[in-house]
C-alpha cells in the first residue's frame, strides 16, 4: 500500500509536468482568446504546474 501510494504521489508530479507542457503549447499555438492579456494569463497560470512538476513546491 505504501509503495502504491508513493507511485500515485509521483504520478501527480508527472501530471503537473504534462499539464505544464500542454499549457506552454497553448500559450504559443492557441485558437481562442488571442492577445497580450491572455499571453500574460497563460504565463502566470503555468507557475504552479511548473513548480509542482519540478518538486519546488
Amino acid at each position: 500500500m505504501i509503495l502504491l501510494q508513493e507511485i500515485i504521489h509521483q504520478l501527480y508530479f508527472l501530471m503537473s509536468a504534462v499539464v505544464a507542457v500542454l499549457l506552454v503549447g497553448r500559450l504559443f499555438r492557441r485558437k481562442t482568446r488571442p492577445g497580450l492579456a491572455y499571453d500574460i494569463v497563460y504565463a502566470y497560470a503555468l507557475i504552479p504546474f511548473v513548480l509542482r512538476a519540478l518538486h519546488i513546491k
Partner: protein
C-alpha cells in the same frame, strides 16, 4: 492612521483597480491579479512575490479536477459514447416528454456532481442536451437557461460541493453529512426548473429528434459506453466507502483512469495524434476556469495579507442575523461573480461561525450558502457558467435576455436556499453522518 482606515482605502483602491482592469483587459482572470497587485502596493506590502506564488497553489487541486474531468468527458464524447447515451434516452423515453426532460436534467447533474464544477457539466453534456431540448420544442433562451441552471445545480449536488468543502475547511468542521441535505434541495429545484422551462414546449417526433443528433458509429454498443462510467462510479464509491482498503487515488487520477478506459473502448481505434488534439483542445477549452482558479487564489491571498478579507467579512457578518437573511440573496451571488470560489472562503467561513454562535445546524447553513454562492455563476465579472452555457448552446441573443430567461428558476433556487438558511432546524433531519 488606524488599521481600519488603511484597510478601507486599500479596499477602495482594489475595487477601482478591478473595475478599470476588467474594462481595459476584458479578462476577469487578469483583472483579479492586477487588483491583487494594486492592493499589495497600496497596503505598503510592495510586490510580495511569495504571496503571489503561494496564491497560485490555493486551488490547484480544483484546477487538476477541472482539466482531467474535461479530458475524460471530451474523450467520452469523441468516441461517440455520450451520443449513444443520449440516443438511447431519446429512443426509450421520447413518448414521455416530462420523463425525458427529467432524465436529461439528471444527466446534466452527473459530471458537475462528480467534479464540483458546473462548467464541466455544461461543457461535457450541455451541447448534446441542448440539441435534444431544441428538438423538444424549447425556445433558444430557455435552452440556454436549462443548461445554465442544471450546470449550477450540478456544482451544488453531492458528493463534491466545493463551496461547502471550502467553508467546512475554513471553519474546522468535517465535510460529512452533506449528501442528503444537498441532494434533496438540488433535485427539488431541478424538477421545478424542468417544469418551468419545459412548460408549453411541443416536442418533434422521435425520428426528427434522432435525425438532429450526430450520427452514431455502428460499433458503439451500450456496453462500450457503460464501461468508463462504470469504472468512474466504482472508483468514486470505493474511495468513499472503502477508503482504507484501496490507495487514495484522488479525482484527477480517477478521471485519468477513466480516460484510458475510454480510449481502450474506442471502436474506431483513433490514432495517438487524434487524442493529443482532443487533449490540446480540452486544455484550451477549460483554460478560463483554470486561470480563474489560479487568479482567485492570488487575490484571496493578497486580500488576507492586506486585511481587506477580514474587513469585508466583518462588515457583512457584523450585520444582525435578520440583515444577513435580507442581504444574502444579493451579496452572496455578487461575491461569487467577483471572486469565484474565493467567496466561500471570504464570506462563507465567517458566516458559518456566526450561525454556529446562534445555535443553527451549520451543515444545513453551509449547504444553503453553497446554493446562494452558486447563483452568482451568471453574474459579472467572471460569469463563468453563464458565459460557458451560452457559448456551448450557441445562443445568439443578448446576455440580458439569457438572464431574463433564468430569472424564475434562479429565484426558486434562491428561495429554497434562504428557507434552509432561515429554518435550518426544519431540514436538519437530512443531515446523515
Amino acid at each position: 492612521m488606524s488599521t481600519y482606515v488603511t484597510t478601507s482605502y486599500t479596499l477602495a483602491a482594489m475595487v477601482a483597480a478591478f473595475t478599470l482592469s476588467s474594462w481595459r483587459f476584458k479578462s476577469p482572470e487578469l483583472a483579479m491579479v492586477v487588483t491583487a497587485l494594486v492592493g499589495a502596493l497600496v497596503a505598503g506590502l510592495g510586490f510580495p512575490a511569495h504571496l503571489f506564488v503561494e496564491g497560485t497553489f490555493t486551488f490547484l487541486d480544483l484546477a487538476f479536477i477541472f482539466i482531467t474531468a474535461c479530458v475524460f468527458m471530451n474523450a467520452y464524447s469523441e468516441v461517440g459514447a455520450m451520443n449513444a447515451l443520449v440516443r438511447a434516452m431519446v429512443t426509450r423515453l421520447s413518448r414521455w416528454k416530462w420523463l425525458l426532460l427529467m432524465v436529461l436534467a439528471a444527466l446534466m447533474l452527473i459530471p458537475g456532481a462528480l467534479t464540483g464544477a458546473g462548467v464541466v457539466s455544461v461543457l461535457v453534456v450541455g451541447g448534446l442536451v441542448a440539441a435534444v431540448l431544441r428538438l423538444m420544442g424549447l425556445a433558444e433562451q430557455r435552452v440556454a437557461a436549462f443548461v445554465f441552471m442544471l450546470g449550477i445545480l450540478s456544482a451544488v449536488a453531492p458528493p463534491i460541493n466545493v463551496w461547502a468543502m471550502l467553508m467546512a475547511a475554513g471553519a474546522n468542521m468535517p465535510y460529512v453529512g452533506f449528501d442528503w441535505v444537498l441532494l434533496v434541495p438540488v433535485l427539488a429545484v431541478a424538477a421545478a426548473t424542468v417544469v418551468y422551462l419545459g412548460w408549453g414546449a411541443v416536442p418533434q417526433s422521435k425520428e426528427a429528434i434522432l435525425a438532429g443528433l450526430p450520427p452514431l458509429s455502428p460499433k458503439m454498443t451500450w456496453w462500450r459506453a457503460a464501461v468508463p462510467l462504470g469504472i468512474l462510479l466504482a472508483l468514486a464509491l470505493a474511495s468513499k466507502y472503502a477508503a482504507f482498503a484501496i490507495p487514495t487515488l484522488g479525482f484527477p487520477l480517477i478521471f485519468i483512469v477513466c480516460t484510458i478506459a475510454t480510449v481502450a473502448i474506442d471502436p474506431e481505434r483513433r490514432p495517438f495524434g487524434r487524442w493529443l488534439a482532443v487533449t490540446n483542445d480540452t486544455v484550451e477549452q477549460v483554460f478560463p476556469l483554470v486561470a480563474t482558479m489560479v487568479s482567485v487564489g492570488v487575490l484571496v491571498n493578497i486580500l488576507a495579507a492586506t486585511g481587506v478579507r477580514g474587513l469585508i467579512a466583518i462588515s457583512f457578518v457584523a450585520l444582525p442575523i435578520v440583515g444577513i437573511y435580507a442581504t444574502s440573496l444579493f451579496v452572496c451571488p455578487m461575491a461569487q461573480g467577483a471572486l469565484g470560489f474565493g467567496s466561500a472562503v471570504i464570506l462563507g467561513t465567517p458566516l458559518i461561525f456566526v450561525f454556529n454562535a446562534v445555535g443553527a445546524n451549520v451543515t444545513v447553513v453551509a449547504a444553503a450558502f453553497s446554493m446562494l454562492f452558486a447563483l452568482g455563476d451568471c453574474l459579472p465579472p467572471s460569469r463563468i457558467v453563464g458565459r460557458t452555457a451560452i457559448e456551448t448552446v450557441g445562443y445568439k441573443g443578448t446576455y440580458a435576455s439569457f438572464l431574463r430567461a433564468t430569472t424564475v428558476p434562479w429565484l426558486i433556487m434562491g428561495a429554497v436556499a434562504l428557507a434552509m438558511l432561515i429554518f435550518p432546524g426544519k431540514v436538519a433531519f437530512l443531515v446523515k453522518y
